[in-house]
C-alpha cells in the first residue's frame, strides 16, 4: 500500500506543458457555406494521444470542423496543421488521418475482411502483411466469427465495430469519430464508450470525437471543446467544464444548473458576495471574482450541490433561499425537487435518497429552505 502511494502519479495533461508542440493546430479557421457561417474564426490545439471531444447542439459546426480535419471540407480562411504539415492543399486520400463515419459508410459489396483490408490495399502492402493486419483488427474488435459476412448481415453494433476496425487498420496518426455511437442503444453505447477508451489507450492514437451527447463527451474525453453556433465557448477537461463553466451557455448545456442574476456587492481575496435579484439573502462564493462592485454577474449552482430542508440551516446568513415545494421527481437513487421561490422563480435541487421513502418528511407545498456551501456557487461573467 505504501509503495503504491509513493509512486508518482503523472496526470495526462499535455495542454498544461508550455513547451509541448500540439499535434493538430487549427488556426483562425472560418468556413462559410454561401452566406451561412458554419465555423467562425476558430483556433484550437489538439495534442498527441488526446481523446478530444467536440461537443455541441446540432448545427453548431462540430461536424464541419471534423470534416475539415478529414479534408472533405476546405476552410474558407485560416489553416489546419496536422503533425507539422499544412493541410490546406492536401486531399483527403493523402492525409494521415482516418475517419469513422456516423453512417459507418461500410462498403455493402464487400465482406467484413474486405472492408477492413480496403485501406491497406491502397498502400500496396504485401498480401501477407495485409492479412496479418486485418486479423489483428478483427481480433481487436472481436468480430472473428463474422469476418466473411457482408455488412447487411450484421447488427448495428457489429457494423459499428467493423467501421472502427476499418478506420484503425491503417494505423492513422489521428482517428476522427463522427457521432460514432449515435445509432446504438443506451446500454451498448455505454459499453462501447469504455471499449473506445481502452482501444485508444492501447493504440496510443489521437482521437477526435464529435458528439451531441454531453455524458458521452464527459465519459470518454480528456478535453471537451464546447461549441455553439460556429464558435468555441470553452475548452477544458470534463470536470472543469462541469464545475467551472465560463459562461451561462456552457453551464446550461452541460448538465442541469440554477442560474441567478445579481450584482457584485463585496470582493475579498478568497470570496465574493453577490446580491441576487431572486432573494434578499446575499450569495457568497468560494472564490474571488474579477469584477467591479455593482457589476451585473450570474451565479450558477448545480442542483446536486444544494440541500432542501424544512428547518432553516443553522448559522447561515448567506446562500439560503426560502420557497415552497412545487414538484418532486422520485428517481430511485435520487429525488429532484422543484422549489418555487417567493418571486415565482423555480429552483431545481437534486438530493440522494439516503433514507427510505417512509422517513421522507419533505412533501408537496411544504415551506422549505434551499441552501448550499459557498464553494458550490460559480460566478459567470457572461
Amino acid at each position: 500500500m505504501i509503495e503504491a502511494n509513493s509512486q508518482e502519479h503523472t496526470v495526462f495533461a499535455p495542454w498544461n506543458e508550455a513547451d509541448k508542440e500540439p499535434f493538430v493546430r487549427i488556426e483562425n479557421v472560418t468556413k462559410k457555406f454561401g452566406n451561412f457561417v458554419a465555423i467562425d474564426n476558430i483556433s484550437l490545439n489538439i495534442f498527441e494521444r488526446e481523446f478530444y471531444a467536440l461537443l455541441g447542439p446540432s448545427g453548431c459546426g462540430k461536424t464541419t470542423l471534423l470534416r475539415m480535419l478529414a479534408g472533405f471540407e476546405i476552410p474558407t480562411s485560416g489553416r489546419i496543421i496536422i503533425d507539422g504539415e499544412d493541410m490546406s492543399k492536401v486531399p483527403p486520400h493523402k492525409r494521415p488521418v482516418n475517419m469513422m463515419f456516423q453512417s459507418y459508410a461500410l462498403f455493402p459489396h464487400m465482406t467484413v475482411e474486405q472492408n477492413i483490408a480496403f485501406g491497406l490495399k491502397q498502400d500496396h502492402l504485401p498480401k501477407a502483411e495485409i492479412a496479418d493486419q486485418v486479423e489483428r483488427m478483427i481480433n481487436l474488435v472481436k468480430l472473428n466469427a463474422f469476418a466473411k459476412r457482408k455488412p447487411e448481415q450484421l447488427s448495428g453494433g457489429q457494423r459499428q465495430r467493423v467501421a472502427l476496425a476499418r478506420s484503425l487498420a491503417k494505423n492513422p496518426k489521428m482517428l476522427l469519430l463522427d457521432e460514432p455511437l449515435g445509432a446504438l442503444d443506451k446500454k451498448l453505447r455505454e459499453e462501447t464508450q469504455f471499449e473506445l477508451m481502452n482501444i485508444q489507450e492501447k493504440l496510443g492514437i489521437t482521437f477526435v470525437i464529435v458528439t451531441h451527447d454531453q455524458e458521452e463527451a464527459m465519459t470518454v474525453s480528456s478535453r471537451i471543446a464546447v461549441m455553439d453556433s460556429g464558435t468555441v465557448a470553452q475548452v477544458a477537461p470534463p470536470a472543469e467544464i462541469y464545475e467551472f463553466p465560463n459562461s451561462r451557455k456552457v453551464a446550461d448545456f452541460i448538465g442541469d444548473v440554477n442560474i441567478f442574476e445579481g450584482r457584485v456587492a463585496d470582493v475579498q481575496a478568497d470570496s465574493a458576495q453577490i446580491l441576487i435579484n431572486a432573494s434578499d439573502v446575499p450569495v457568497r462564493t468560494g472564490r474571488s471574482v474579477e469584477a467591479a462592485l455593482g457589476e451585473t454577474v450570474w451565479v450558477a449552482v448545480r442542483p446536486e450541490k444544494m440541500i432542501v430542508s424544512l428547518n432553516p440551516p443553522k448559522n447561515m446568513t448567506e446562500n439560503v433561499l426560502k420557497g415552497e415545494v412545487w414538484d418532486i421527481g422520485y428517481l430511485g437513487k435520487l429525488s429532484v425537487y422543484h422549489v418555487r421561490l417567493q418571486d415565482k422563480r423555480m429552483v431545481t435541487v437534486a438530493m440522494t435518497n439516503r433514507y427510505r421513502e417512509t422517513e421522507h418528511t419533505i412533501t408537496w407545498e411544504d415551506s422549505v429552505y434551499v441552501s448550499w456551501a459557498p464553494n458550490a456557487s460559480v460566478v459567470l461573467m457572461s
Partner: protein, 351 residues
Amino acid sequence: MGAERLCRVDELSGVAMTSPDPMKKKHKGLPLVSGGLVSMICECPPYRWAASRCYRWGLQGRSLTVMVPYLWLVLLFLAPFLIVVKISFSEIRIAIPPYAPLFEMIDGLYVQLNLHMANYQRLFHDDLYMHAYLSSLRIAVVSTVLTLLVGYPIAYGMARAPKSWRLPLLMLVILPFWTSFLIRVYAWIGILKTEGFLNMFLLWTGVIDEPLVILHTNIAVYIGIVYSYLPFMILPLYSSLEKMDHSLLEAAADLGCPPHKAFWKVTFPLSRPGIIAGCFLVFIPAVGEFVIPDLLGGSSTLMIGKTLWSEFFNNRDWPLASAAAVILLLLLVVPIVWFQRFQSNRSQLGE
C-alpha cells in the same frame, strides 16, 4: 371458439353459407380493412359469393395477389407463345389461316398429329437465317455496349447533379418518348443521309471534304439503336447510382483511395444491378429490332427481326416465321435463365 367450430363444420359439409354470422367469420381469412367503403363492398352479394368461393378453394389474399401476375403471364405470354410453337410445326398452305392444322381427322376414326419439322430444318440449313441470327446478336451486343458507354456518364452526371436538377433532367431523358418512335427514326434519315444535316455541318466546318456515307450502313443502325434505347439504359443506371450513399466515396477517399480508383472500386460495382438491368432492357429488344434496320440499315444489314417480318408479310410463310421466332426466343431465354441462376448462386454463396 364456437364460431370457429361452426365455420369448420360448414367447410366440411360444403354447404353454401347464407347466414350472416359464419360469413363474418369467413371474412377474417381475407385481408380486409374494416371501414365504410370497404365494408360496404364486403357486404355486397357478388363479393360475398366470390369470397366464399375463393376461400373454399383455399385461395386467400396472399395467393390471390400472387396469382395476378401469373395469370397475366399465362394469358399474354405463354398462350400466344404456344400458339406460335404450334404454327412453327405445321406446313405452309395457301389458305386462311396460311398453314395446315396440327391435328387431322382421318376417316373419322384416327386423329393424326402432323409435326412438320421442315421449318426448323430450313432454319438450320439455310445460311441466311443463321447469318441473320448471328448478325442480330452481334449488332445487339455492340449497340448494348455503346449504349452503356453513352448512358453511364449521363446517368452518373444526373445522379450527382443538385437535387433540384434531377427531376427536370429525368424529364428530359423521358421526353423523346412523347414523339412517335417512327418519326424519330425517320428524323435520323434526314440527319445521316449524304446531303443531311450531319454531312452539311461537317463539310461546312471543313472537317471532311467529301460527304460521309452513313445512312444504309450498320453504323446508322448502331446510331439508331443507341439513340432509341438510351433511356432504357439511363433509367435503371440512374436509379442505382442515385441511391448510392455519397459517404461511401468519402470513406474510400479517407482510406487513401484517389477518386478515379474509388469509381472502379466502389461506384461501379455498386451500380452493377443497374448495368445488368439496363443491358437486358437494351439487348433483348435490340436483337429482335426490325424498324431501325429497315429504315436506317442497308441491303447488307441482316437482322432476324427484319427477316421475320419479310417471311411473315412478304412471303406469308407463317410456319417458317414462327419457327424463327421460337429459336430467337430460346436464344434469348436460355442465356438469361442461366445468368439469373448464376446470380442467385453467387448471392447465396455470399451469405
